[in-house]
């Protein structure tokens, strides 16, 4: 019974996702107002030839700070999990 409910939920979910991309723009022709600005101005605003790097470190550099933070957090988390000692805690 549990499995059957799961299957129904799963199928509904699958159909739902299919519908969601069905209505999206045609593949290969996206709207591009924001990106066109970046492509046109990346060289004179950031001095970088690579527009992706310009987005990663300049236009959306704050996100990159966040993602570097996540990596740092995960490393700290892994080290906490495997730390030595700690038998007598709590």
């Amino acid at each position: 019974m549990r499995k059957r409910i799961g299957a129904v939920v799963f199928l509904v979910f699958f159909a739902f996702l299919l519908l969601s991309v069905y209505d999206l723009h045609e593949f290969g022709a996206p709207p591009s107002e924001m990106d066109d600005y970046i492509i046109k101005n990346t060289q004179n605003e950031t001095g970088a030839n690579n527009a992706v790097t310009a987005v990663v470190f300049d236009y959306r550099g704050y996100d990159t700070l966040g993602e570097a933070t996540i990596l740092f957090t995960a490393v700290a988390g892994v080290m906490v999990l495997f730390r030595k000692g700690g038998e007598n805690e709590e």
Partner: protein, 528 residues
């Protein structure tokens, strides 16, 4: 200098704890005391900046901050009509949440100083600061993808801290449950962001709200993106049908982390409000969403109150009470949303609709304080006795006088007894919900009474009765722990005694900010 701080406060509030978190492992190698001092100072500075920012926003309205731009207020690149860079947008609701986050983190840090000892304490404080960064980042940002990034920071650091006692089994189970559910929710948030990006080529929430402002542009893809965002944030906020991770996570985390986790859950709730009220409020059928929120709230109240009854672990019981409290918030917000639909938006709302929103937003703060205080007391009990089973605990009031007083304050506030803060917000909720549906209001009141009964029972079993021999050597909790509990208790009593002052000065700006969608859009796109 002062102006400089005020202008740059939206980023400094995030950069300060982040910088300290990166420095912690380096300082930890040199001196443990130095590390503690640095973490304390960083959190204190963050708290101060939060209040400076709050004053600025309450006085002057919404603040924007363009990251990497030529100037702070230059949201659009010169001569262009869409925002390109990441923009922080801080309105009344953001600073309201920021005050909650910084306050709980500060108190939680004080508590941790005497609670956390031994190996791994350096990493503990790193992760602790990262939780603060994650919450503040979510609350400050005006960019959807950025919201996702900080949501993940919050999830990863919380999961690592829930599993802090990694030698035991239960924290590991709670943690893996939490991290899998969190990343699942975050991935669907990301998918929804992708849908919105593919549809409008925008990531800024204000600009997106401007695009989704009418029925015509509210396409099918956009609707599905809304459903995904709504479901994910409800899941992260721990509302009832998707609450299963919450009592485990709250119950197994170290004492102070349980309290900060409550604030972290409210950050997800904030994201839900942001999506409903700001990004989609013009286009969605608000009455339907209102009814969905009300039913989610009712289910949460019901499940939270009934499941709390059968728990024998003290912290899990409080965790279920937290589910019920989230239910009250969702109920009130749902009623407000329902009323917003009736008059057709535009910032106009009926009197009791406004009251419902006030009650709901006020209750966010009170929930964190009440449940947080109970978790702190529970943490102290576990710290002293090494026992969390309610059937084995007893007679602790003989040795832990102050803790038992704080527990009474906490339980009275959670059950909505006057003159505490829980009463102040719950009376607003009951009053306004009664106007929409009397039966709902009665259920909410009954659930509160039920919670009072549960908490009186556990108070009796934990603190009352004769002194048990196995706890004969137990002393009162350390002073620093009592001090942090006292800070929370004093704020709660203050909120309970002067509810009007709080509602007028803190809650109302937040509520107005939530309803002022045009202002939010205008601050990005200009024109208002």
């Amino acid at each position: 200098m002062n102006d400089w701080i005020v202008t740059n406060a939206p980023i400094l509030i995030i950069a300060t704890p982040l910088f300290a978190a990166f420095l912690t492992p380096l300082v930890d190698r040199v001196s443990k005391r130095g590390r503690d001092a640095m973490v304390f100072v960083a959190t204190l500075i963050t708290l101060v900046i939060a209040f400076i920012l709050a004053k600025n926003v309450f006085d002057n309205g919404l603040v924007v901050y363009t990251l990497g731009g030529k100037s702070v207020g230059l949201t659009l690149p010169s001569g262009y009509h869409v925002p390109v860079r990441i923009i922080l947008e801080v309105d009344g609701m953001s600073v309201f949440m920021a005050m909650i986050s910084t306050l709980t983190s500060f108190v939680g840090l004080l508590y941790s100083f005497s609670y956390i000892k031994g190996e791994g304490s350096g990493k503990y404080y790193t992760l602790f600061l990262m939780m603060l960064v994650g919450m503040l980042g979510m609350e400050m940002t005006g960019d959807l993808f950025n919201l996702f990034v900080f949501l993940e920071i919050l999830s990863v650091s919380s999961a690592a801290l829930i599993a802090f006692y990694a030698r035991k089994g239960k924290p590991l189970e709670a943690s893996i449950k939490y991290i899998i559910i969190s990343s699942l929710a975050a991935l669907f948030v990301l998918f929804a962001i992708g849908l919105l990006y593919g549809e409008y080529n925008l990531l800024n929430m204000g600009a997106l709200a401007g695009e989704i402002s009418s029925e015509a542009t509210f396409t099918f893809t956009t609707q599905i993106a809304f459903i995904l965002l709504f479901a994910s944030f409800v899941l992260k906020a721990g509302a009832a049908p998707m609450h299963m991770w919450l009592p485990d996570a709250y119950g197994e985390a170290p004492g102070a982390i349980s309290m900060v986790l409550v604030a972290a859950t409210q950050a997800s709730l904030y994201a839900l409000l942001r999506v409903c009220f700001t990004v989609y409020s013009m286009a969605i059928d608000a009455s339907t969403i209102g009814i969905i929120l009300i039913s989610l709230g009712l289910v949460s109240i019901f499940i939270g109150a009934t499941m709390a009854l059968i728990q024998i672990n003290m912290k899990r019981l409080i965790g279920y009470a937290a589910v019920a409290e989230i239910g009250y918030i969702l109920l009130a917000i749902g009623v407000g949303f329902f009323e917003l639909a009736k008059v057709g938006g535009g910032g106009v709302i009926s009197e009791y609709g406004l009251k419902a929103l006030q009650g709901g937003v006020f209750h966010i703060f009170n929930d964190v304080l009440d449940i947080g205080l109970l978790f702190l007391v529970a943490g102290a009990v576990i710290y002293v006795t090494k026992e969390s089973n309610l059937n084995k605990l007893g007679g602790l009031a003989h040795s832990m006088k102050y803790s038992s007083i704080f527990f009474i304050i906490g339980m009275a506030a959670v059950s909505g007894l006057p003159p505490l803060n829980g009463f102040a917000s719950k009376i607003l909720i009951y009053e306004s919900v009664y106007k929409v549906s009397p039966i709902t209001s009665i259920i909410a009141i009954l659930a509160s009474i039920f919670m009072l009964a549960i908490f009186v029972k556990i108070f009796h079993s934990v603190f009352m009765g004769p002194k048990l021999s196995e706890f004969a050597t137990c002393k009162e909790a350390p002073k620093l722990m009592l001090g942090s509990m006292a800070v929370i208790a004093v704020i709660m009593i203050f909120f309970g005694l002067f509810p009007d002052f709080v509602v007028n000065n803190i809650v109302n700006p937040a509520v107005n900010a939530l309803m002022n969608q045009a202002g939010y859009i205008g601050s990005v796109l200009g024109g208002v």
